[in-house]
């Protein structure tokens, strides 16, 4: 029985690890400026904890294999050195490991979430609601109109609760259901939620952030590859949660300007 356990556990360990190593299922290619740091941090963790995983599982398998030995008069053996060296070793090894991870990781985190956005960022306002995202560009005046929740209405498509009748800044705001952004230009999103929590997740952009009602949360990033990507909601928001998505279209600056003009004309 001990040998069977050791064999099964070894097979499980090898197969599980092989699928990771062969990247049968893996992250989509990164398209953001900060993404490589995240991927690097992920790989570091994958490597160090992968070793820990394989070593512990195989040690377990090996000891179980050996301890099934039924020979007459075999004496039990105490682990060499007892518990103390083991405790010290675990503390030092894992301690060093987490120190290293924290040291680099917290810098990566800070560079994404704790740095002020580039002053030349393109500002886009994002409203999440059950079960859609809407994006607002400030228009020619570069200013966003004020938000009036009592004016929000699905039927009249006033998703942001704008009041163009009284608010000049709101008149040229462009509201669209697709997030178009220029490539290689910093983008600053302000995330608002109309009803409940939602989240902003674009796997290729390596970024995720909750929308919280009552808060306006800034989020900034720079995309490096033109293309069309999916933005999905990752915070449970109700029955349509699985279906809440939008497209992110990354395009060259000229094309973006063109696109914006078109949208402005259609408002």
């Amino acid at each position: 029985m001990g040998k069977l356990f050791a064999v099964v556990l070894t097979i499980i360990t090898v197969v599980a690890t092989a699928i990771f190593v062969m990247r049968v299922w893996w992250l989509p290619a990164d398209i953001s400026v900060h993404g490589p740091w995240i991927d690097h941090q992920l790989m570091e963790t994958m490597l160090s904890s992968g070793i820990l995983f394989v070593v512990s599982q195989l040690a377990l398998a090996l000891f179980v294999w050996k301890s099934g030995d039924r020979r007459e008069g075999r004496k039990i053996k105490i682990f060499p050195g007892g518990a103390v060296p083991m405790v010290v070793l675990a503390t030092v090894l894992v301690g060093a490991e987490i120190l290293a991870l924290t040291f680099v990781g917290s810098k990566v985190w800070a560079s994404i979430y704790q740095t002020p956005p580039d002053p030349n960022s393109l500002a886009i306002d994002v409203q999440a609601e059950q079960f859609a995202f809407y994006f607002r560009y400030p228009g020619a005046d570069g200013k966003f109109g004020g938000i009036h929740p009592e004016l929000m209405n699905e039927a009249s498509q006033n998703f942001f609760g704008l009041d163009p009748a009284h608010d000049t800044a709101a008149r040229d705001d462009i509201v669209v259901p697709t997030l178009a952004i220029p490539v290689n230009r910093p983008v600053l999103l302000t995330l608002r939620a109309k009803d409940v929590n939602h989240a902003f997740y674009v796997p290729e952009l390596r970024i995720q952030q909750d929308f919280v009602p009552g808060l306006v949360i800034p989020l900034h990033f720079t995309a490096t590859q033109p293309g069309k990507y999916e933005l999905v909601c990752t915070q449970l928001c109700g029955l349509g949660h699985y279906n809440m998505r939008a497209y992110v279209e990354v395009m060259p600056q000229e094309q973006f300007d063109q696109w914006l003009k078109q949208q402005a004309a259609q408002q």
């Binding site: 499980i12 924290t102 985190w109 109309k194 409940v196």
Partner: protein, 588 residues
């Protein structure tokens, strides 16, 4: 009868008092375990329904429309019903299985026995605690039968979705209110239980049972009780505030200016993050409430079958205490991306990573115990070995999620589902299985069938790896959790893997029927169990199987030594020394 009336420890008379409204900790322990069994079967069936729907979203499940004409018209699960099933699955599993079975169930039965007491310190409070738990369970289950279905906001019930009421869609009406009431009631029950555990451990230990001589499982239950005492004391007021937001029009968690279904909500100023903080201040310790008794059970059982003492008994207890302590400093790791101050993410990340140190030590101590052992491969021993393996697998993914920079990618994906199912779900279940196979002879005086037990182990062990390992791959590919169907372009290619998981889950689930059968059959047909079938040292094995009403027949044992005396020269050529046995005569 007359004699009984003067003896202070007369067993109670009559069916109701001996089996239903009993104050005997052993009966209450079994009641908790039976409740957990009902709950785990319910939760497992719910998970099958979910898995079926995820793999074949349009498949009709015969008979389901009878249970929910709205949620599953024609047997096809709607998206909202999927979320309700998921919420009920998570809630039932976390609260009514993983808290009741390893802690309240086994703890009630064996903590007094292991410390040599006749009962818990407050038998009536103990009984109340069980019945209140049952009420909480019934309230939760009743939400299956309300018009717009059970709550759908997940076991975490994030506000404002959980707080604003009907406008937020189906499942957010009465179902969600019942959810909050159920959990508040559950908290009361667990607080009463924890109070009993602590007072019993502190005050009712028999002569010679110093703290240092307490078995590891007793230590774990005691520490868990202390964690629960703090955790449930926070969740209960949080639930009360949530209920008030829902029914009394207050705004603790609901901010102003919310527009739901085109209606401006009549609330102002509340803070959704406040709920998250309160919930996770409870929620993270709760995962240790689920797993620490498992730690105790494994540390208790492993030496019995390894026939050698647990490596580093003091380090083990030190680690349990360290984990309990640290568990209160890490709740923010569930909220890295929640919109709280990003600076605090680093603050929460550090203690989270530090917790991996005692967790690693504990694992290494188990592995080191197996080194050079003379393992007896009984079913409980196999589940102990399985526990160590799945705990390692689940713990490893914690390294990823503990780092905000990586959580940025993995949060909200199946990676998290894989992580917590291994580390909390499967590991804790393995602890429960090990405990059941190990203690069944003591509780019912009969042995369980070993052949069936081994089949159960092998199918389950391989099964859970097939179910939960692939979830990590899904997560790496960015597969979002809490989705009732995968309609996004980038998720469609992952559906075959989902089908594999579903098939594996159904097989693993079917394997649990073996356990169920074994459990029921052995209760009536199993061979009679001796008092100490596994040759273990602790006090529960020093009495009859099952123990008499007052546990030790009026002769409380006097403890001579710690619980870790395996691989020593015992009486009559045995290789162990029982805690209460007199010093053996020196070998001639």
């Amino acid at each position: 009868m007359h004699e009984a009336a003067v003896h202070p420890h007369a067993p109670p008379q009559g069916f109701l008092r001996t089996h239903v409204f009993s104050v005997d900790h052993k009966v209450i322990g079994k009641q908790y375990l039976d409740l957990a069994l009902v709950a785990v079967c319910t939760g497992m069936v719910l998970s099958w329904l979910m898995r079926l729907h995820l793999a074949w979203p349009t498949a009709a499940i015969p008979g389901l429309d009878k249970l929910s004409p709205n949620g599953a018209a024609g047997g096809v699960i709607t998206p909202e019903y999927y979320l309700s099933l998921m919420t009920m699955h998570g809630t039932i599993m976390v609260f009514f299985v993983l808290t009741t079975a390893p802690f309240a169930g086994f703890g009630n039965y064996f903590l007094p026995l292991q410390v040599g007491a006749e009962d818990m310190a407050f038998p009536r409070i103990n009984m109340t605690s069980f019945w209140v738990t049952l009420v909480a369970f019934l309230v939760l289950i009743s939400s299956f039968f309300v018009a717009d279905g059970p709550a759908l906001s997940g076991w975490t019930a994030y506000a404002p979705l959980s707080a604003v009421g009907k406008d937020a869609g189906p499942g957010q009406g009465l179902g969600q209110t019942l959810w909050a009431i159920s959990i508040a009631i559950f908290c009361v029950a667990q607080l009463l239980g924890a109070l009993n555990f602590i007072a019993t451990t502190l005050d009712l230990r028999t002569k010679g049972m110093s703290l240092a001589r307490m078995p590891f499982s007793t230590w774990a239950w005691f520490i868990t009780a202390v964690i629960g005492l703090i955790a449930f004391a926070v969740l209960m007021p949080a639930c009360i505030l949530l209920i008030l937001d829902r029914v009394a029009g207050t705004s603790f968690f609901i901010p102003s200016g919310l527009v739901i279904s085109d209606r401006l909500q009549p609330h102002s100023g509340g803070s959704p993050l406040l709920w998250q903080h309160l919930f996770w201040f409870f929620g993270h310790p709760e995962v240790y409430i689920a797993i620490l008794p498992g730690f105790g059970i494994i540390s208790h059982i492993l030496p019995v079958f390894a026939r050698k003492p647990l490596l580093g008994p003091r380090a083990m207890i030190g680690c349990l205490i360290a984990i309990a302590f640290l568990s209160y400093t890490v709740w923010g790791h569930h909220m890295f991306l929640s919109g709280m101050n990003p600076f605090s993410a680093t603050l929460f990340s550090v203690p989270t990573l530090i917790i991996t140190i005692p967790a690693t030590i504990v694992t290494l101590l188990w592995i080191g115990t197996i080194y050079g052992a003379k393992l007896r491969f009984t079913t409980p021993a196999l589940f102990c070995l399985g526990f160590v393996s799945v705990f390692v697998s689940g713990g490893i993914s914690g390294f990823f999620l503990a780092q905000p920079s990586i959580d940025t990618y993995l949060h909200g994906t199946y990676f998290v589902v894989g992580h917590f199912h291994f580390v909390m779900g499967v590991a804790a279940m393995f602890g429960i299985f090990a405990g059941t196979y190990f203690w069944f002879p003591k509780m019912f005086g009969r042995m369980m069938n070993e052949t069936l037990g081994k089949w159960h182990f092998w199918l389950t062990f391989i099964g859970v790896y097939c179910v939960f390992m692939p979830m990590h791959y899904l997560g790496l590919a960015g597969n979002v959790r809490r989705y009732s169907a995968f309609t996004d372009d980038y998720l469609k290619p992952l559906i075959p893997l989902h089908r594999f998981i579903t098939i594996a889950a159904l097989f693993t689930g079917a394997a649990q029927l073996i356990f169920l059968f074994n459990l029921i059959r052995s209760r009536f047909r199993g061979p009679k169990a001796p008092d100490n079938p596994w040759e273990a040292t602790t006090l529960e094995w020093a009495t009859t199987s099952p123990p008499p009403f007052d546990n030790f027949g009026g002769k409380p044992p006097v403890v001579q030594r710690g619980p870790n005396e395996y691989g020593v020269a015992g009486a009559g050529g045995a290789d162990y020394l029982m805690q209460a046995a007199p010093e053996p005569a020196p070998a001639r």
